[in-house]
C-alpha cells in the first residue's frame, strides 16, 4: 500500500485530487491535511511515501512545508499542485528538488502523470 499525504486548504481540491488518484491507482492510502502546519504533523505521524501539496495555504505555506520536510529527509518525494503559474515561483520550488510541479485544476491527464510518477518512484 502506497501512503500519500495530500496537503491543501481547499476541501474541494482535496476531493478532486483523491477521486482522480483513486481512479488511476489501486493500493493507495490517502491522508489529508488542511494547511502546511497540519501537513508537517501528518508527515511526522505517518511518514508518507509521497506528499502532494498546494503552495498558498494558511498557517504555513507549501514552500515552508517543503523546506521543513526536505530538512528532515532530503529524498522526500514531493509533488506540487498549485494554481500559481508564475515562472519564478516554479523555479524557486523546483530548486527544492520536488518530483513535479503541476498547475491546478487537476484533471485526468495530470492525475495520470502523478500516478505514473508514484509508480516510477515507489521503490526508490
Amino acid at each position: 500500500m502506497v501512503k500519500v499525504l495530500i496537503v491543501d486548504d481547499s476541501i474541494f481540491s482535496q476531493k478532486v485530487s483523491a477521486n482522480l488518484i483513486r481512479k488511476y491507482m489501486n493500493n493507495v492510502e490517502l491522508t489529508f491535511a488542511n494547511n502546511g502546519e497540519e501537513g508537517i504533523e501528518r508527515y511526522e505521524e505517518i511518514k508518507p511515501d509521497f506528499i502532494i501539496t498546494d503552495l498558498l495555504m494558511p498557517k504555513l505555506s507549501g514552500q515552508e512545508l517543503i523546506r521543513s520536510i526536505k530538512a528532515q529527509d532530503k529524498s522526500a518525494k514531493i509533488i506540487v499542485v498549485s494554481a500559481d503559474i508564475q515562472k519564478n515561483i516554479r523555479e524557486e520550488v523546483e530548486a527544492y528538488n520536488v518530483l513535479a510541479f503541476l498547475n491546478k485544476p487537476l484533471q485526468d491527464e495530470k492525475a495520470q502523470i502523478i500516478c505514473n510518477l508514484i509508480r516510477e518512484n515507489m521503490n526508490e
Partner: protein, 212 residues
C-alpha cells in the same frame, strides 16, 4: 500612435492574453465554452465623488454579488476580483462539480461552507492564472494573499474596491459569459497607482523590444 496609446495598447493586450488563458481554464473546469468580451483599462480617481465603479462595468449587476478576491503585493500592489451574480452561484457550483444543473432550484442565496470552499478554490485558480500570466509576461514577481470570498451588494462592493490608501487606481476589467448558462461574470484587477511606474517601466521594455 503616441507613446501613451502604445502603452495602453500593450497593457490591454497583456491583460487580454492573461484573460484568455484564465477563460480556457474556466472552460476546462465547467465543461462549457467561455465567451469573452473586449477587456478595458482605466484609471479612476477616488477623490472624484461622482465616479461609480459600476458605471465602468459593461454588465449591470442588480442583485447580490459573489466576489472572490486575491490581494497581491511586492513589485505591484492591488487586488484581483472574480465577480458573479450570487443568484447564479448554485448553478455555477454544479457546473464546477460536474453535476446535473437544475436551474429552477438554484436561486437560493443560502450558501454552505462547501459552496464557499468551491467558489474560493475556483476563484483562486482563475485569478492566479490571470495574475500569474501577467506576472510572467511582464516579468514582475507577485506575492499573493490567501483567497477570500464575500457576498456584497453593489454599494458595499464599490466601497471595498476603493482602497482607502490609494487615491488613484488602475482598473483592468473584462466580462465573460459561460455559454448556455446565462452566467455572466467579471474580472476586475485594481492596482494602486504607486505600482504604475513599475508597470510602465516593464511595458516600455516590451515596447522597446517590439518597435526597434
Amino acid at each position: 500612435m503616441n507613446k501613451s496609446s502604445i502603452r495602453y495598447d500593450i497593457l490591454k493586450e497583456v491583460f487580454n492574453i492573461s484573460a484568455g488563458k484564465a477563460a480556457n481554464l474556466l472552460s476546462e473546469i465547467t465543461g462549457k465554452k467561455i465567451i469573452l468580451k473586449i477587456p478595458d483599462v482605466t484609471i479612476l480617481d477616488r477623490t472624484k465623488s461622482n465616479i461609480e465603479l459600476t458605471d465602468y462595468l459593461p454588465i449591470k449587476f442588480s442583485g447580490a454579488l459573489m466576489v472572490s478576491t486575491i490581494s497581491f503585493k511586492e513589485n505591484l500592489a492591488g487586488k484581483a476580483n472574480l465577480i458573479f451574480p450570487a443568484e447564479k452561484m448554485k448553478t455555477f457550483i454544479q457546473l464546477c462539480l460536474n453535476e446535473e444543473v437544475y436551474d429552477e432550484d438554484n436561486l437560493s442565496l443560502d450558501f454552505t461552507d462547501i459552496d464557499f470552499d468551491v467558489i474560493r478554490e475556483i476563484g483562486n485558480i482563475i485569478l492566479n492564472c490571470i495574475l500569474g500570466e501577467t506576472s510572467n509576461l511582464l516579468d514582475i514577481k507577485l506575492q499573493y494573499s490567501l483567497p477570500e470570498v464575500k457576498v456584497y451588494n453593489q454599494i458595499t462592493f464599490t466601497k471595498a474596491i476603493y482602497e482607502k490608501e490609494y487615491q488613484h487606481i488602475l482598473v483592468l476589467f473584462i466580462t465573460f459569459i459561460i455559454d448556455n448558462t446565462e452566467i455572466e461574470g467579471t474580472i476586475i484587477v485594481d492596482l494602486a497607482l504607486q505600482s504604475l511606474n513599475e508597470l510602465l517601466r516593464k511595458i516600455d521594455l516590451i515596447e522597446a523590444d517590439t518597435y526597434v
